[in-house]
Symmetry: C2
């Protein structure tokens, strides 16, 4: 996609004939786009689904495959957990704030069980078994996991229940989710146009009526009678946009399919769309949660800064935004050995030492820094307490020699992360985007819907304000993608 193509819209008066005409045009074949297409099709609309890669999947297919679902799903019940929509809502408002989207979080929580059922009805597999230790993605095919609901302060805000529903998979589950939903699309009349990148919107007065796209060297025009649904992803791959809106994310690894260039957001802005929370980002910190939780995470001067049993995404945000990722995992031999081998992802300590004094020197921390921190930690761990950061007593034990340190900035690479070892300590993606209603209608700067324009997924500001918990992107992408597809198919 050339940077030279303007983002400003084209007047419909300039288009004499369209190459394709449909009811609903969905742009982007990730989890939001496929959900919008399925529901628009179910709503008896003619649907074309554009994707600029050669096949569907997008960044969704590369993800861990966690869906944040709860309120009493069949998987939760099978694993023996009681949950309510209110507790789910309370957790999400706290974890995704400050000032998370109350309307979206409330609706998402109340309709979560129904959304779970929609996914299952479309063939998405979830296994009714719990993985009960902090991790990014279970090394097994367990289908339910904690996302820090049982960690401080969230365990005091809402009754905890595990809500990470992981699509059954060997490894990351995103590819399975997208394969299943793609199969569902194949059974419908949805026309999929691959290798086709949307470049500009077409407007008729105030209304969005289509897009100009590029198919290899060819310009192709699409007319959408009822609505255009943008599900084009975030902007983590666009360095200029990152510098303008989220400068703290610049220079980190990117968790995407390489196509999160933000163009969908900008072409929407060019027809008047408002954006929200453009500075926010998920920070997939490069560490093994099972090691961190059994030891501790410290900043560059050896100070702890968070309870290590919260969801590692929140650790990543704290580490990047508060400490510029200059952070270390400190643990002892027993902690390392206790981490099941399949959870270690091959990570070896960068420094080992018999004493904390030696370890400080090797790392280059102030003399006494780790001795002080571990001393305080051990003093309270003996009693099963952590008055500093409130880590659960399940993970509290005095650390004993020999000790080890892992430099987070040198990264670690679970097989499916590919080259994340060179990511500088984290892979990020953006959370902000266009401002939408719960029905996926894109709002302009006056807060009014832009006729004919819908959006969902990471091209939008979803449930989140600033905080991030994994499973909410596949979660709000599919949920609000569906709603956008329904609303678009019903338009006019």
């Amino acid at each position: 996609m050339s940077a030279r193509v303007p983002v400003t819209p084209i007047d419909a008066a300039e288009i004499s004939t369209y190459d394709h005409v449909t009811d609903v045009l969905v742009i982007g074949y990730g989890c939001a786009g496929v959900s919008a297409a399925l529901e628009a099709d179910a709503g008896d609309a003619e649907v074309i689904l554009l994707e600029r890669q050669s096949g569907g999947g997008g960044s969704s297919a590369l993800s861990g495959g966690e869906m944040y679902l709860g309120g009493g799903t069949a998987i939760q019940e099978a694993c023996g957990f009681t949950d309510t929509a209110e507790d789910m809502e309370g957790f999400l408002l706290a974890a995704l704030g400050p000032d998370a989207d109350q309307a979206k979080v409330g609706l998402y929580s109340r309709e979560s069980v129904a959304h779970y059922q929609w996914l299952v009805d479309h063939g998405v597999p979830f296994k009714p078994s719990l993985w009960d230790s902090p991790t990014w993605v279970p090394p097994t095919d367990d289908g339910l996991m904690w996302m820090g609901e049982n960690a401080y302060p969230f365990n005091e805000i809402a009754t905890p229940a595990p809500r990470g529903h992981r699509v059954t998979s060997d490894g990351f589950g995103g590819k399975v989710l997208m394969a299943v939903l793609s199969e569902a699309v194949d059974k419908t009349d949805v026309a999929v146009h691959t290798d086709t990148a949307a470049l500009r919107l077409i407007v008729d007065g105030d209304r969005v009526v289509g897009v100009v796209a590029r198919h290899f060297q060819e310009t192709v025009t699409y007319r959408a009678r009822r609505g255009v649904v943008l599900t084009t992803g975030g902007f983590a791959d666009n360095k200029e946009m990152l510098a303008q809106h989220a400068p703290q994310l610049v220079g980190r690894g990117v968790n995407s399919d390489g196509g999160d260039d933000g163009r969908g957001i900008v072409i929407a802005q060019a027809v008047g769309a408002a954006v929200k929370h453009m500075s926010a980002g998920q920070v997939g910190i490069s560490l093994v949660p099972g090691m961190m939780v059994r030891g501790m995470i410290v900043d560059g001067v050896g100070q702890r800064f968070i309870n290590e049993d919260v969801y590692p995404g929140l650790v990543g945000q704290a580490a990047l935004f508060k400490h510029n990722l200059n952070v270390w995992v400190i643990l002892d031999e027993q902690a390392y050995e206790e981490v099941p081998v399949e959870e270690r992802w091959g990570v070896q300590p960068h420094f080992v030492a018999e004493t904390l004094g030696d370890l400080e020197r090797e790392i280059g921390m102030p003399e006494g820094a780790l001795q002080t921190t571990v001393g305080e930690y051990n003093r309270f761990a003996e009693r099963g307490e952590d008055p500093y950061f409130h880590k659960s007593d399940r993970w509290l034990r005095p650390l004993r020699p020999p000790f080890a340190a892992i430099d987070v900035q040198r990264g670690m690479a679970p097989p499916e992360y590919g080259d994340s070892a060179g990511s500088g300590g984290a892979e990020v993606f953006t959370i902000g985007g266009v401002h939408t209603t719960v029905d996926g209608r894109v709002l302009n700067l006056d807060g009014d819907p832009i006729p004919g324009l819908f959006a969902a997924g990471r091209a939008t500001s979803g449930l989140h304000s600033w905080g991030y918990i994994s499973g909410t992107s596949l979660g709000d992408g599919t949920f609000f993608g569906r709603r956008a597809g329904i609303a678009a198919s019903a338009d006019e």
Copy 2:
């Protein structure tokens, strides 16, 4: 200003006659607007300056009156300091980053001596004497102050020189700056229209040609032959915009004249303007820098997080964005007594205790927290070292009983801050805004100038990306305000 008036522009075809016609229309009579008006007038343009309050001044008149200037000004030389534009640029890029605006910072630094002279030529008074201790605003009328240039890490990035040029005043200097520049305006042909709020832009095709304003209950139209210059300030007074773009600033006190509602930014966006760094904010933390630097600042569990001799604005950003302002100033009796009475602003400790154990208990910190932190601090202070945060040895001394603690969230109120004691620990304003060239031309989403539209001051993203040092708002407001006025007067 009613929220009901749409922000979308009005087509010039709908306006039959204008109430006022001029060459350059400047909107907002703060430091950026007055500078733009003076230069547009000097450029032989007919100028109208709109202000919605009953008189000029804006938030600028309520500010401390610091201007960040350097590179070898007469004041710096009179105080015995050598400075270069390169060192000034190096400091600003580090302090205002990550990813501060290189083009703006470079130009601003190279032309700083000339800009100083322009201010002096217009009558702005600066006294050639140095205030040599960390503070928000000197309690004397000293004209030069350090803005943390001599603190780590900046002292290792660029050769330090004090660059805070404080307008000579009894107390805050902003009112003097605005009074002097207003007198300069009075000597020109610039027409000042007060009680007049710009509501919408008027466009003729792609070009901005005027504004629709409100003067009490009356609608007034303005035509600008050469250009409209938006200098309407930030959006700290607009809670909805804060929640959308800078949620961490919601609920804090606001440092403004009450009119920073962001409308200037939004009406620019509605004609296609791009925005940058909307999440960034200055955080005027409610503490006495002279107390903090002689003691320490700690978070809620008693841990230090920054060298206390950096500019307090950077302490404020760290305290809010990293610790949600749950921070405390810890000091001993000697430190308190050493702070000159006129610097204390009447602040009394919230807790005093003979032992750190007692102080921890009174505050509610973990048992041992302050004993650990002060123990480590003292151990190194004995040697004049601070390997943790690198505070200058000038301020290092072991702290001895009795001890005291000040709760930053309970605030402190120097007389001119008015009711800041109820601000929850800080008064904030926003730093992000519309994307402009160094000539104040507003850029659209394609990076092209919007014909006829200029902007400066806190309605724009200025020198800054994320970091903030006081003096850069009056500094870039006047500097880029001038350039916008020059460019607008030369247009067409």
